[in-house]
């Protein structure tokens, strides 16, 4: 009994310790600049939504003057870019994952591994040559150029996670569907894709997380997908 309550107290302390930074960030977001910088830090202060207003309107009014911040624009850019690049990666990656899972073809494993190896490469390695090359062909500072580059991250992720799901589904299920009288394409859309849906959802979330934390939206799939994805790698 005592041991149990001690354990509870210990757990509480651990949680408080690790949650404190987040708590402190929330507290700071409700303070003015002066209050944030004051020493000793204040725990009692008149809360203000000034910081949030500034982020949304794009103008931060301080005692010195007005500062323009492009937060909403950048957020929108991030959202647009990650959404578009994930869509492109899905259109390319899901059929490719199916092909790698179901068919044996020459150099198939090599191709799949090469795509995966792109994830090992340090981004800095390709940064300089790529930006020079992009400037030459006029792709620098364009959405298309960025979406293209994002494929280095998203495509292997989607390919490898979704492939595992296709491999886990028995091909007999698709065969049965075809013997029933459905075309290959219909079987792909109505059987293969729905069966791999948790994998596809996990891959989408994992590729979006680096740029956006809209993950809560897909929480059910996220938890299932992340845990499965972690096992499958």
């Amino acid at each position: 009994m005592i041991l149990k309550s001690l354990r509870g107290v210990a757990l509480l302390l651990v949680v408080l310790f690790f949650m404190f930074p987040i708590f402190w960030i929330v507290v700071m977001s409700l303070q003015t600049n002066a209050e944030i910088l004051s020493l000793p830090p204040k725990l009692i202060f008149p809360p203000t939504l000034m910081n949030y207003t500034a982020l949304i309107t794009g103008h931060l009014k301080t005692s010195v003057g007005t500062l323009n911040i492009a937060f909403m624009h950048n957020l929108w850019n991030s959202f647009l870019l990650s959404a578009l690049s994930v869509i492109v990666a899905l259109v390319l990656g899901v059929p490719a994952a199916y092909a790698f899972a179901r068919y044996k073809f020459r150099l198939g494993e090599d191709m799949a591994f090469t795509l995966l190896s792109l994830k090992f490469a340090p981004p800095l390695l390709v940064l300089l040559p790529l930006s020079l090359e992009f400037q030459r062909v006029g792709l620098d500072n364009t959405y298309i150029g960025l979406i293209w580059i994002y494929q280095l991250i998203t495509l292997p992720l989607i390919l490898w996670i979704v492939r595992g799901y296709f491999e886990d589904a028995s091909p007999d299920i698709e065969y049965a569907y075809r013997v029933d009288g459905h075309s290959w394409l219909k079987g792909f859309l109505k059987i293969a894709i729905p069966l791999a849906r948790p994998g596809i959802a996990a891959a989408v979330v994992l590729s979006i997380i680096p740029t956006l934390a809209i993950a809560l939206y897909a929480q059910r799939w996220l938890v299932e997908g992340l845990s499965l994805g972690a096992v499958k790698g």
Binding site: I173, Y175, V179, D180, G181
Partner: protein, 363 residues
């Protein structure tokens, strides 16, 4: 018109020939069992007939229509898979309706047909359940209903009772022939269980190493296996195979095996082997002419039968199988049921003759 004619069907995986020039025909409403040990190409053969083996070479004619080049969806077959292959994200009703949906039937006839086949298979109360909510038996029946619902002329069964428990297997073994007869459907049934083959098959095709080693009525395969390999595979316990001595007598052969003597209508083979089914080994408590003394080594009850391991005086071991316990005492006399037994040539592996005449033991 035959339900199916397969002519010189071959399938190769790389350099490995899985099937080699296989011929097979299935008559209307006939049940043909494709029997063979595992890994022998039975499933590949079914898949090739269904159009699921892109590399298959040969001709497949279904109900008079050459479908050799047709994709699976154009062949109008039913198929039941070993692992059921139900669609996990659809309720049983939609699983069964799938072949009808493919034909773009209206909602009302689909509902009616699904209901009727579900009632036939006694799963009408679980039609709204998803596959994961079904028991193994119900899954089995759902898969069967899906194969039957489109009223195909031919259904392919890929060892559908392999993964179900003994009770269910026994039930389905009795029920399936009745169902198929009722729906007037021909069937090819893959199994490696000879009991299932005997219970379900009108004819049995024995597939060994990618070739059909024998294709005959089930009883004939049982009584007269075409090769020693089939004799070893078909039957549980398998046929007793005893090295024998053969001696020409007129146009026939006098065969002596384990002290028993038989006459066969064939020239003596090079290396004679006498085969006798365990049920045809008779046990007696008294000696008589034509009987041979033997010792009971072990008695094992199996499926309400008694398997008796015997050793004759010349050291030959053989198994007898009867539904009554063997006579008391370890020393008994054995004889052969008249007319049962087969003569093989170990040099060629082929059956030379069957149905021997009983002979008096020459002194």
């Amino acid at each position: 018109m035959s339900a199916l004619i397969v002519t010189s069907l071959s399938v190769r995986y790389g350099t490995h020939h899985v099937l080699r020039d296989v011929d097979l025909d299935v008559r209307q409403n006939e049940r043909v069992v494709l029997f063979g040990p595992s890994g022998v190409g039975k499933t590949v053969m079914l898949r090739a007939i269904a159009g699921l083996e892109p590399g298959a070479v040969g001709q497949v004619v279904l109900a008079g229509r050459d479908v050799s080049r047709d994709p699976p969806e154009a062949r109008h077959l039913g198929m039941a898979f070993q692992n059921f292959a139900l669609y996990p994200h659809m309720p049983a009703r939609e699983n069964i309706a799938s072949p009808l949906r493919a034909r773009k039937l209206d909602t009302a006839p689909i509902a009616a047909k699904v209901k009727s086949v579900a009632e036939l298979l006694r799963i009408d109360h679980v039609l709204d359940h998803f596959p994961r909510q079904l028991s193994n038996g119900q899954k089995q029946r759902t898969a069967l209903a899906r194969a039957l619902v489109g009223e195909p002329k031919l259904i392919l069964f890929d060892d559908p009772l392999r993964n179900v428990d003994a009770k269910l297997r026994y039930e389905m073994r009795i029920e399936l022939p009745r169902l198929l007869a009722k729906r007037e459907t021909a069937a090819i049934y893959v199994t490696q269980d000879f009991r299932e083959a005997m219970a379900i098959g009108d004819r049995v095709a024995v597939l060994i190493d990618g070739e059909i080693a024998q294709f005959a009525l089930a009883d004939e395969v049982y009584d007269r296996p075409a090769t020693i390999a089939i004799a070893r595979l078909f039957g549980d316990p398998p046929m007793n195979l005893i090295a024998a001595h053969g001696q020409a007598r007129g146009s026939g052969t006098l065969v002596r095996a384990a002290g028993l003597v038989f006459g066969f209508d064939a020239a003596p083979p090079r290396e004679p082997v006498f085969g006798i089914r365990p049920e045809a080994v008779m046990l007696f408590s008294e000696p008589e002419t034509g009987r041979v003394a033997a010792q009971i080594v072990a008695v094992t009850p199996m499926n309400e039968r008694y398997l008796v391991l015997l050793r004759t005086e010349d050291g030959t071991e053989l198994v007898a199988s009867h539904d009554t316990p063997p006579p008391h005492g370890s020393h008994i006399w054995i004889g052969a049921e008249p007319g049962l037994g087969a003569l093989f040539d170990a040099a060629t592996g082929l059956c030379v003759a069957a149905a021997p005449s009983s002979e008096e033991i020459a002194a």
